[in-house]
Symmetry: C3
Subunit: 329 residues, 3 copies
């Protein structure tokens, strides 16, 4: 994994060339991404939900980890940009014949594909691929291990901006398994870059990472303290498989100590919004009344996911096209 | 499940808004569907097998039950209407992460999809989804439990009409596992709505449903009686897994008592046609001579399946578009 | 399997109607295929990698054997020709419900598809299908048992021609498991048809077929002799599953006796090129220095795979279209 992901992500004029993590990206660039997503938001409302920006381009969903939900949003985003989409599930492909990751990449490159959307269980996989691909290819990180999930973070920022006007000055609370969450890591970076007043995290001790302070988040001891005056509350998905180990007490106990309830949300700002990356374990991370209530913007997050993914695809492709046309001069 | 599916299926002016079951649909509407399918039949003969009716629309094949054959026909129908198609196999998706059906639907809705083609092992699943989706979405039932398979029934009606001119006045025989067959249930409803003179059913006693008389079909005791003077004979697929239980004697015995043979078909009308929804168990439901003989219209049923599915997609989308444009006024 | 595949592959004026094997095809026709591929090579370099030749056509990838890599190249080729693509994995389809291969074909035909790309573990499967399909359908063999893999052979010929100007007069060495390799069989036929000076094969005795001499290849005893003066060296993939049986010594011993090394390649012509159909077992079939070295044209083979597949699709579709328009006169 490269130490300077910004260098890898940007071209010489500072345009987005890959989208791997929030780290190293400027407030201006993240704002441009949200502005671009906003312009794509209306495409979904049109009778013909298509723009020809990526016509004749081939987008490869390179999923080393199964995720129908995320794959679906990227596939829709690519198709609405008029790209051809190739779904490559690597579990069933030639890496199982012993081919290395790099050989797989080289082969797809040789087929003149234009973009890799990469999902991998190992942190750094998307960076690794980005640092090895041919100059005409963009890489978008669709989640790598517990490292980063930058499109999820940016759709969250975009959603917050829609409801709050700006990220600046907000108090944002993240509740849940921070330790194993690439989503939380990317959210904290995006929130601090975009000027949030305070990012609060609360989790069972076993689910807090050691480096949490260095990310710029404040650890709270009780959910009531954390929620006090909050503008945005983000619940994280609890991996059921962690429940059986030493990490966590029972689901019931987790809900009692960390579950988001209507009652508890009274401590937050009057206009608080509630977010969740999905899928939700109802009555574990939050009660159904909250999920289906007026504060929840969870489905708007899903809609915005398409727009943000269209934006990242359009921005990176545009950068690559410019690099290429400059090369040809 | 709603008690009045017609109300759910039609908009206020009586146009098809979802296609969930034959029940409650008028003879005029079923005829309109066949007329529409007829107009699409020629698309398959063109050099460019495309019409732009659903361009920029997203059709989701939401299959909770595996069926390559049915999924394929809907996928082809959607693509020939120029739609984007998303295949979502729910066994591998987030419901396996504990997400509820309704949460899955809400998520896909939020991605601004336009149509759900639903296959589910539970009766009423498509109705349930249709009664909960957003107003801009159409639902098409691609088979729910033992309840209904309306596109299959309508492609059968369309095929009968092609060969016989009309359904009115015909004697139609359905042979086989009526009890577990959503196809048979939908066929009987469609046949009676469209004015068939008589619908005869014949099956081992264990494979007859209790409510069969109320559907308007007449139970026959021997296949020879049933076939006498028949204009159309429809063989149903025998689920092999039912053979091992108490439901059925051996395959051999089944064929002896219920198998369609050239010999037996001599009892039917001289111009009898033989149908089957496929896939066929040769020498069980019917002998190969019949399957490959001149009376069989089984492959024409498959061709018509594309046209009928195009028709239902075009009709429901058109209704939704009209509802939307009226709303905007 | 038909004894005269050329008859099956060509129409009355000698145009390619199916592409099943190299056997029986003339030097002129193979040259035409390479010329067509060359014209498609530039499509991959365009900003919009699309030509409308197969717009509105439906190409079915009918894979009875899993192969993400080959399926992917055909899917990309079809999409770049603007066709609709249907991936049918037969393991999960209705043949598992007991439907015969021919019934599956008849059903897809009835859906008015235009082309079958067939991969099957049985030799002759593509021929069988081609000899039974409707006149408006083309069949392309994407590998059948140990019989033939003609698009792989032709992409190899196309690659050799790019680097060497022509096949004529060249000394070509094929190293590895000739016996189980459909690739080798098709390569030898193509090389001899196109006028290679000498085709040399070298393999462990257990991995040589009995009919190898009749194909026109010369068996060599040591790799050093085989490489002497060679213009092209093709390494074949070693199936790991063969290593455990009686066929082969250890991987280590195989590499020692047959592995391609920089050292050994010094015996070949100064301008030798090294090829491999992929995926490669590094340090078994060849050392990494060779794979990643300047003599290897392995990734160019992959690029050319798209162009050759586009060429075969375009040629066969064009023949079928002409047959149809003549019929209509």
């Amino acid at each position: 994994m490269q130490n300077n992901p910004a260098g890898l992500q940007l071209d010489l004029s500072g345009c987005l060339r890959h989208f791997l993590s929030i780290a190293g990206l400027s407030r201006d660039l993240l704002t441009e991404m949200m502005d671009t997503a906003e312009s794509f938001g209306s495409v979904a409302e049109q009778a013909v939900k298509k723009v020809p920006l990526l016509r004749g381009k081939t987008v490869v969903n390179l999923f080393f980890e199964n995720s129908t939900r995320t794959r679906t949003t990227f596939e829709l985003a690519a198709k609405r940009l008029s790209a051809d989409v190739l779904n490559v599930n690597i579990a069933t492909s030639s890496t199982s014949k012993g081919e290395s990751l790099l050989d797989t990449i080289r082969n797809l490159e040789a087929m003149h594909v234009d973009m890799f959307v990469v999902r991998h269980s190992s942190s750094g996989a998307a960076h690794f691929i980005a640092s090895h691909v041919a100059p005409h290819i963009s890489v978008i990180n669709a989640g790598d291990g517990s490292h980063a999930h930058p499109t999820q973070a940016m759709l969250d920022m975009f959603t917050i901006r829609q409801y709050k006007g700006a990220i600046e000055g907000l108090i944002v609370v993240i509740v849940g398994d921070i330790r194993h969450s690439r989503v939380a890591r990317s959210q904290i970076r995006a929130l601090t870059t975009l000027g949030a007043k305070e990012v609060r995290v609360i989790a069972p001790r076993t689910l807090l990472p050691k480096d949490i302070q260095s990310l710029g988040a404040h650890v709270f001891e009780t959910i009531d303290h954390a929620l006090s005056g909050a503008d945005v509350v983000i619940g994280l998905r609890l991996q059921k498989e962690r429940m059986s180990g030493a990490f966590l007490p029972s689901e019931h106990e987790y809900f009692a100590r960390f579950g988001l309830t209507e009652q508890r949300l009274k401590l937050a700002s009057k206009d608080v919004i509630v977010m969740h990356p999905g899928p939700i374990n109802r009555e574990v991370e939050m009660e159904s009344r909250v999920v289906d209530g007026s504060r929840a913007v969870i489905l708007q997050q899903v809609s915005n996911g398409i727009a943000i993914r269209m934006a990242t695809m359009a921005m990176t492709m545009s950068t690559v096209n410019q690099m290429r046309s400059q090369q040809q001069k």
